[in-house]
Symmetry: C2
Subunit: 340 residues, 2 copies
């Protein structure tokens, strides 16, 4: 594990400036609510001073690149791309309130700045802006409707996933299958929609865009499985997350659920999670070592590889040339293997 994040491939960054400019134009609100949105997007600090701390904008970049691979224009795909990123940030803002996350990428979360009540409004407003950017765009009405439908379905699934995730907190008997369904909804749905919207806005028939969505959802699953592995074995300096290890936060992530299937790792984690106090570094290390001994990391990597294989099978039937498929594979590889 290195300490420098893997840089995204050029095809995911070439429209970075255009994405930021159009995101900024979508938040044309001078008041305090607009300032809160700009803070969330990483353009302003808590005092309204300009900063440059936006996220990687993976979803809009993926949407634009998929559209390009299908022969579409960037201009036509942009409203879908911008909408995706606004929806992603709406979900982050509400998740942060729900999880009481103190930080995102070393910055205070918005609810700590404006309070939980107003932060609910910030998330709601970002979601409204996500609607407006597509509705008010000049792309053909039928395409707008298709993209809006794709995003509404994905957002509905995402919220169902978030509902399931929170409901798991009070349960001791979550199965790996339930967990994988939850992350397909919570994480996979919007990545699937990024691919689907890219295809739809390139004018690809709905049935083929559906395959694109299915591919994206498998990639999203693999991405989250890998993220869960990083949550136990990742380098905190690289991932930029404020919490050192998912075991400290008592998260029921994929490695933990797999560990619950074996008697000694299960006993170890149960005693760790039953305690009221934060586990020591030594206890965490002991648990991680035992998990490694029981091949938990490999088991989780097998899940990720299975999702990649399923994605590969879908890729084969997508109406793309050999070259375009190779490029999508390269993007998927970055998303899954990225260490940040």
């Amino acid at each position: 594990m290195g300490t420098t994040p893997t840089p995204p491939p050029p095809n995911l960054t070439k429209h970075a400036k255009k994405i930021e400019d159009h995101l900024a134009a979508s938040i044309n609100n001078d008041n305090a609510l607009g300032a809160a949105c700009r803070y969330v997007m990483g353009w302003e600090d808590a005092n309204g001073k300009t900063t440059d701390q936006g996220g990687k904008r993976i979803r809009p970049a993926l949407c634009l690149y998929v559209s390009e691979l299908f022969g579409g224009s960037t201009a036509n795909a942009l409203p879908g791309a911008i909408s995706l990123e606004l929806i992603h940030n709406f979900s982050l803002v509400h998740d942060e309130i729900q999880d009481r996350d103190p930080e995102r990428h070393h910055r205070k979360t918005i609810w700590r700045l404006v309070g939980e009540a107003q932060a609910i409004n910030v998330g709601d407003y970002l979601y409204v802006l996500a609607q407006k950017v597509l509705i008010e765009s000049t792309i053909p009405a039928e395409q707008r409707i298709l993209a809006l439908a794709s995003l509404a379905n994905a957002t509905g699934d995402m919220i169902k996933g978030q509902w399931a995730d929170l409901s798991f907190e009070n349960r001791e008997d979550i199965t790996v299958d339930e967990y994988l369904e939850m992350i397909e909804f919570k994480t996979g749905a919007l990545i699937g929609a990024a691919v689907e919207c890219g295809a739809l806005l390139a004018g690809i028939p709905k049935s083929e865009a559906d395959l694109g969505r299915a591919w994206g959802r498998r990639i999203g699953l693999a991405f989250q499985a890998h993220d869960d592995i990083l949550g136990i074995w990742g380098d905190p300096n690289t991932t930029g997350k404020s919490n050192v290890n998912d075991l400290v936060r008592k998260k029921k992530s994929l490695p933990v659920l797999e560990a619950m299937k074996q008697s000694d790792t299960s006993a170890k984690i149960k005693s760790l999670y039953a305690s009221d106090k934060e586990p020591s570094g030594e206890e965490i290390l002991e648990t991680v070592n035992l998990m490694e001994k029981r091949n938990i990391r490999e088991i989780c990597e097998e899940h990720a590889e299975r999702f990649i294989k399923e994605a590969e099978e879908i890729l084969e039937v997508l109406p793309l040339g050999v070259e375009e498929r190779a490029r999508l594979r390269q993007i998927a590889n970055y998303l899954i293997k990225r260490n940040a």
Copy 2:
């Protein structure tokens, strides 16, 4: 003040069953998230048992009736009507979390049943369903886009209004003008959209639907001004609200802001609101009596009458016959004068 709420005029109730049926069909989710939505809509109690405690569905009824007055079909206007009611409930769910409201119409608010974190998801999900019901409808794509635009604009304004409302809690210097702008956004916007969508879905040109929206926003303002008057002078048995008087909740409503302009009423309210303990019934009565002596009720009624006069001026230029205008006036009259 009577103890029986004024019944809505028949034109606002004739499609009640159709509205409930289509609302129910829009929430086709068997899991716990769906159950939470059905609780919010008033169809189920906390144990999932069937109840019949839905709201008055004023916004969808208004949308359908406006569409009818403009010569449109109920079938074509229904998706807009259903979307309006889902958006209204999304906003209620988030407001109740933000305001820590314990009850709505004598029922526990949803956040008290599922917790604040999950209640955020319930609101979000209702808003997604509001999108889907319009996006997936079979009405012409251009009309769907127009209705979606109307609702997205109104929802954006509603959230701006809610942001302003919450920000007023920490301020002592709110002007009546600021307050009226806030309620135009928070309450007027969605009533305006009900009228606008009804007109648009009847196939009326955008410019004329805009006038309909302007009319609805003035009616919404009058409605809220009247609601604020009821908050001080209304009969709690009739309005069904859990708190006896807005003065007990230390709300900065229109009568309070008008009272702040006069030295003796201002001093009285300041001392009432500065105290940590709940004011006694006697203190409330004294304050209300002093407000009456200073004509605060009349001043607030003058605001409401001004909004009605402005609405009337807009009504005159709407492309409707004398009969249709009279019917809209009757609806407006019910909304403003209703004591529930």
